[in-house]
Symmetry: D2
Subunit: 151 residues, 4 copies
């Protein structure tokens, strides 16, 4: 019944900004990818290894709420959570804040940049849904948030 | 009370694919941008002109449902709709399908790639919310879908 | 001994700008891809079809000269040329200018945005060099610039 | 007369791959940006601070040689060097290799991914060339490679 948020610190790249002076909106989905990649590495089975074992996690749904601006080189902190969503899908949720604001508030969240979630199917390399492999199920039982009666 | 969907045909770029052989998930938000850009051009006030007049439309929320694969060079068709969402925001909704599938079905939609929507604030260049300018309100009254009592 | 430049007109996407208000530098390599994609389509064998036939053209070298700014929604024109470069490689060269400037000068180039070239190996899907397939050789003999004694 | 190469370790993002299973070619220019960003941070004046002081370094030329494949999540190491290039420009050169290959060879480079260089003008925020500010000149005198009689 573990419920661990994986934290990742990263900087906004110049290539991720747009002419409004903040990050371009689609970059958040790329950052979410970093969050779940690091989470799976923490699990001991990096996503590259999952694909190698024949389990792919293509997105089937994504949602982003934009909460504030972030400029080139700003240091951001992302918290990622995983939960099972039905028999053959996974749900990750994410929160991205300014590292500075988070520190200033003594752990209380602030300086919000974006929050959101993604839902992923479990498929083979050709995109066909497969049953959740035993090894993946065991990882999820150990690490993913268990939210009973939801989703 | 006009209700026009703006249609845009475009091809998947090689740079938009990923190692799974389909488009990378964040590209859909970039394609949505193309859809609303073309819609505003149809309105007679391209988005660049809007920004020039001091009205910016930063995203505050985005939602994507992934419905199928699309490979490099595939010809896709996007339909975009706009609607007012409260006093100081706008909502665009999008549907992207394979051009081939759409044609084969005689106009009936199929070969789905992605659907979704984005909600945009109306702000000045610094990101501060502003009242919807009169000229923009008139455009929306003419072109945006009027969905009473919804949101 | 044909020597045709393929012309492509396209607009700068918002996602391609950066906080300096012009296009981000790496986008030019993505635009170059569009130029050669359209050129191959003109040849009657789109690049997707080439890959389908087992001939891949990975970049082995790229060069870009940045000549001027271009903003969101600016209409640009790219001219692309192909030439053989040795037995197992191809070279494309590109020039991107503002459509407006080009028109104003009656066909004389101006309003330069970027120029450059890319060199591509001919390989199989695994990246291993292969001999130029007969069908590709014939296309190049017909369409690529023949620059004797160079490269 | 210091001559320090700045080293940066990073992973290939899924969003940076393409359907050929390696990184998409334009990503290398984005990685080069990371290399020089970290170098400037090492200098004590991060690039964001340079822009804040009114000195911008837009690219005027870029060159990339592609030396090998790299897959999603591969750990890469980039070495960056800076040198003055004339009175009003800077040149950075870069080498990206697989971390694993580099380690295996006891510091000898191998497992090459890409090398290249970029030349940057020194301009104000509007893109107009300016004289190299004194503080930037001093940094370069201290940290950039001095290659006499070259370029």
């Amino acid at each position: 019944m573990a419920c661990q948020a994986c934290r990742l610190t990263f900087r906004v790249r110049y290539s991720e900004t747009d002419q409004l002076g903040t990050f371009y909106n689609s970059r958040v989905l790329e950052w979410f990818e970093l969050g779940r990649s690091e989470m799976m590495r923490d699990w001991g089975v990096p996503y590259a290894e999952m694909e190698h074992r024949g389990a792919f996690l293509p997105l089937i749904e994504a949602h982003v709420v934009y909460r504030g601006r972030a400029s080139y080189d700003d240091l951001l902190v992302m918290s990622t959570l995983a939960e099972r969503a039905g028999k053959a899908s996974l749900r990750f949720s994410y929160e991205i804040v300014h590292a500075e604001a988070e520190a200033a508030k003594g752990g209380q969240k602030g300086g919000g940049v974006a929050t959101g979630w993604t839902v992923h199917a479990i498929t083979d390399g050709g995109g066909r849904p497969i049953r959740c492999p035993t090894w993946l199920g065991e990882i999820l039982d150990q690490h993913a948030t268990q939210t009973e009666g939801t989703q």
